[in-house]
């Protein structure tokens, strides 16, 4: 069959031009709604362009023709067959009170695993410090933790929080950005079949275990609780949730026994990963503010009992929020 290209083009070009105009309209404005009539016309034009492409199949038309029609059909195909999620119509309240806790609970096994890895790391860190206290400098990457806990407590209680005067906001934003980066890394390294996530969680556990043992051994348990709890009860779970997201990613990547293809498995977790890491970022903003503006004040400025009580209340609220919030509400869909 030989096609009369000129006649074919003369007949079809007005439809292609109309389709191109419609495509430009919907591409330029993602929130654009065509209405029922407009959508029907759009679909008709897409089918007509598709039919034109099919007519060119196997014919000796110049490649430019095919490329032009292919690009038109590809763009229209993307518009017609996609159901784009409405991220710009996100309702923050529903996302926070329902979607995030529901997503957290849906992957609770990965969270439990993240907790277990951190605990193993903490035991290892504490054991190393117990066996080889001279390795404290290597175990703890922060300079202010290298010295004697008793000396630090004495110094900071004497300073009465003046150490950070004029730098609290900077300190707070540094904490937020650093911790968020660590959390993103914890989630993203799930792409290494979970090895990177496990290493990061374990390492965090090592630091935590070593610090806790160091302070407890020095008889500074109250100071430690007062210093760590107000921000730690949010910051540590945030890192654990980031680890949970990394393990969710790793589980989908390994996909043992799921019977689905890799692409299908990944599609199922996209929304969960985004929700989890969004929740983590929010938690870390709160933790950063608390750490800079509250945790650094010690007795006599702030009684340790108040700080510990604050931390305990925060932790209880967090447990309630993650465990109960959004129950009975509409379950957020996956993928």
């Amino acid at each position: 069959m030989i096609i009369d290209l000129e006649r074919f083009t003369a007949t079809e070009k007005p439809f292609w031009d109309e389709l191109e105009r419609l495509l430009k309209r919907v591409e330029d404005d993602p929130a654009c709604r065509l209405g029922l009539e407009g959508a029907a016309r759009f679909h008709y034009l897409y089918q007509r362009a598709s039919a034109g492409l099919a007519r060119l199949d196997g014919l000796a038309a110049p490649p430019e023709f095919r490329r032009y029609l292919e690009s038109l059909v590809a763009r229209a195909y993307g518009e017609i067959h996609s159901s784009r999620d409405n991220a710009h119509r996100l309702v923050p309240r529903i996302w926070l009170l329902e979607t995030f806790p529901q997503t957290f609970r849906r992957s609770i096994r990965q969270f439990q695993l993240a907790v277990l890895i951190t605990i193993v790391g903490a035991i290892f860190g504490a054991a190393v410090l117990m066996v080889a206290p001279e390795e404290k400098g290597m175990l703890l990457p922060f300079d202010h933790l290298h010295g004697s806990p008793a000396e630090r407590v004495a110094t900071e209680e004497q300073e009465a929080g003046k150490r950070l005067a004029g730098h609290k906001a900077t300190f707070s934003s540094s904490l937020m950005t650093h911790n968020t980066q660590v959390s993103i890394a914890c989630m993203a390294t799930g792409m290494t079949w979970g090895v990177g996530t496990i290493i990061l969680l374990f390492y965090n556990g090592v630091i935590l275990g070593a610090v806790v043992l160091d302070y407890l051994a020095a008889g500074q348990g109250v100071f430690l609780a007062g210093w760590l709890l107000p921000h730690g009860v949010i910051e540590i779970p945030a890192i654990l949730i980031a680890g949970q997201a990394g393990l969710v990613l790793a589980t989908a990547l390994i996909g043992k026994g799921s019977g689905l293809t890799l692409v299908a498995r990944m599609r199922l977790i996209w929304a969960d990963l985004t929700t989890l890491i969004g929740g983590v970022a929010l938690m870390l903003v709160w933790a950063g503010i608390v750490e800079a503006f509250f945790s650094q004040y010690h007795e006599p400025v702030l009684p340790y009992s108040v700080k510990i009580a604050f931390g305990v209340v925060e932790f209880c609220l967090l447990v309630l929020f993650l465990g109960r919030s959004g129950r009975g509400g509409k379950v957020a869909g996956r993928g």
């Binding site: 030989i2 096609i3 490649p63 993307g78 599609r267």
Partner: protein, 255 residues
Amino acid sequence: MADQTTTLQIRTPEGIRFSLVLAGPTSRLLALLVDFACIGVASTTISTVLRLFALISQDIFMALTILAGFVISIGYGIVCEWYWQGQTVGKRLLRLRVMDEQGLKLQFSQVVIRNLLRIVDSLPALYLVGGIASLTSRRCQRLGDLAAGTIVIRTPKVQLPDLEQLGTEKFNSLTAYPHLVARLRQKVSREEGAIALRALIRREELDPAARLELFRELAALFRSRVAFPAEAVDGVSDERYVRNVVELLFEQRGR
């Protein structure tokens, strides 16, 4: 190394096949460099604007600068790719676009995941992991693309060829010999016809010497297949001769 492909074939539910041209690592790297420059400029500009806060408090200025720098570096790709449907400034300049690997539009979560996973792709330095992944994966995907189910395609500006170049309204001296026209259609392959048609459509883009040479060769090829009588071809230039042949080849029979 995986059997890499330069195009992604999509078959629609309507049974239509079309292909998307995948972007190579070089163009993607260039787009990335442009994006880095954009992030640098945006961070510097915002930092300069935020300097006004230093008049109130140096602490607040520093805090806002740190936060703004972080938000820009993380959010640039996410915001651009979401609102520009898979494009950043660098990708726009290089005519690249991120797409779902099934040819569909991007979901917000896909945009977020592919951008957050840059942290792994950039390990240990200079995007080594991402570079190796895109060189070895079948569809030139870095790890972020593999996780988010995305591909980066080339979107060159494609326009419908100008058929006015064919000039088919002009007199065609070969039509007077229908039996030879029928033989010509038998002897000239579809591919040869397509090459001649393409040459005619693009003739204005050719260098004059190359244009003469190309049409001389094409005319010689067609003359070797079917010899028209001298009165039909005398005084007809090579280019005109090729135009006449193409018209006969592509004209619908029985018109």
